[in-house]
Amino acid sequence: MPAAIALHNVGKVYGPERSQVAALQGVDLEVAAGTWLALMGPSGSGKTTLVNLIGCLDQPSRGTVAIDGTDVTSFSRRQLTRFRAEKIGFIFQQFHLVGYLTALENVMLAQHFHSLADESEARASLEHVGLGDRCDHLPAQLSGGEQQRVCIARALINDPKIILADEPTGNLDEANERIVMGLLADAHRAGRTIVMVTHDPAVACLATRRIQLRHGRIEDSNVGKPLAIGVVPQQR
């Protein structure tokens, strides 16, 4: 069974040739399907760049990136977009919901660009995240936790194999953090691969594998058991 994510000798540089900045250097990473991976590291360590490459939002300067057994390194912009829609669901720290669309329509947006919008399916997805009664609310009428749950419903609606979550609890209070992490745990239990960027060691503890990035290199990688949901540390 191929790895869900396989990066070999990946490097990424930004900027003009004379003043290039290396965001990633010689990164080798294999993530088995069904892994919940926590990416940690200080600002500027290359977390975002790594997530962009895994999310097919960017391409490496060197090395190869394979997602679900498919080498996407030489994919065109159009191919990457299609591949992204098929394989990857995104959860953002700042939610990125379309302000003039209701919760239901925000979920249907992902369906629309994937294939066909199905209102009943989108409604079921919102019910799954506990927002069945908030379908017709605009993002501005929802709390931060509710918005993040809409974001999760949107990420899951097309049944992606990989979920990329960038600081999914960064803007949430503890109660909502617990709900969101519970939903991610559900997704993990359903067999999805989750790549989660976090600065929070307690949140990272829920992952089955943790990676520490520093100066564009993987400094530390270890495998751990996730803590049971409901015992997210209260004191941090």
Binding site: T48, G55, L57, H96, V98, E105, D166
Partner: protein
Amino acid sequence: MFVRILKQSFHRQRRRKSLAALAVIAGMAVASAMLTLRVNLGDDLSAELRHIGANIVISPAADSLPITLDGVDLRPAGSGALLDERDLPAVKTIFWRNNIIALAPILDTQVVLNGRRVEVEGAYLEALRRLNPAWSVAGAWPAGDSDGVLAGRHLGAPIGSRISLAGRPAVVTGIVATGGAEDGEIIAPLSLVQTIAGVPGKYREALVSAVTKPEDAFARRSHASMTMAEMDRWMCSPYAVTIAQQLQEALPGSVATVVRPVADSEGVILSQLRLLLWFITLLALAASGLAISGAMTASVLERRGEIALMKAVGAQDSAIGALFFSEAALLGLGGGAVGYLLGEWLATAIAYHVLGHSIAWKPALAPLMLVLAALVALAGSLHPLRQAIRVEPAVALRGEA
């Protein structure tokens, strides 16, 4: 879903979209008004310009050879051969008869009035009046076959006074002031002057005012170099020379000459006016395009996060382009439709208040305006569309959108 996104985009951004639509409506209204005026007032403007006098003169072919200086016919008015008044009805048979606003046969003679020689000009007075609407007449124009006359203001004959014209009694019904030779002349019905001069049924020349098309290079082409089709086209174009030729053919023994300075001035004025209307139309369309471009650019900048998100969840560049172009097209078409209606009203108001004409609505312009609006929307949204397509979805993940 696409329609829902579009609808919500307009519904939730009512204020921004309304402002953009207003700008489009204003531009399209001006463009529509100018086009309507351009289409409607072609003939009306030409007719309006006919107030500056005759543009064709018919004179006897047997008359003296033309003496022209700078395009002006300098032949003496009272000498030479005469034309037959009985032939005049033939003018009603020419192809461009409806373009003839006035035709005034003229016969002049001299009489002695209060011991001095005075020129008496006989004419169809109604036609003369139509030819010279700028003349100032105190009192009233005489009736066609009456013994009433107009006296030039320098003659000192008061209104109602009775005068003798070579033994024929006449009554001064009005005093004419033109600033020209007429100020020292008597203007009388043609029949009266024919009797005085002893040439019943004759006239010396006819002044014609006709609505014409400004002369272009085709009008000036030699007939010898024209094909049959070109000759037909030439005959079917209301150039002053074409109408003059038809008049000449209809009136035996006559020569019809275009009064060049008048015809040329009309042509220049009409051409410049039409050019001006085109320019204003183009400027208004450009303003509409800029309004759409500005609204769409602002929309793209404001919605960078939304665009990045759509791309992140699988929207291709074409889908983003279709979404924003549809918004621009809706703005353009909506603005175009309202702008057309407003423009028609504006054109009617301009025509009525400025030119004193009423003009008919031109429904045929509506589809043209909608097509123009769509093209303007397309042109105006090209740059913002490029900006939208260039948005990198990675910025959404970074939270910098």
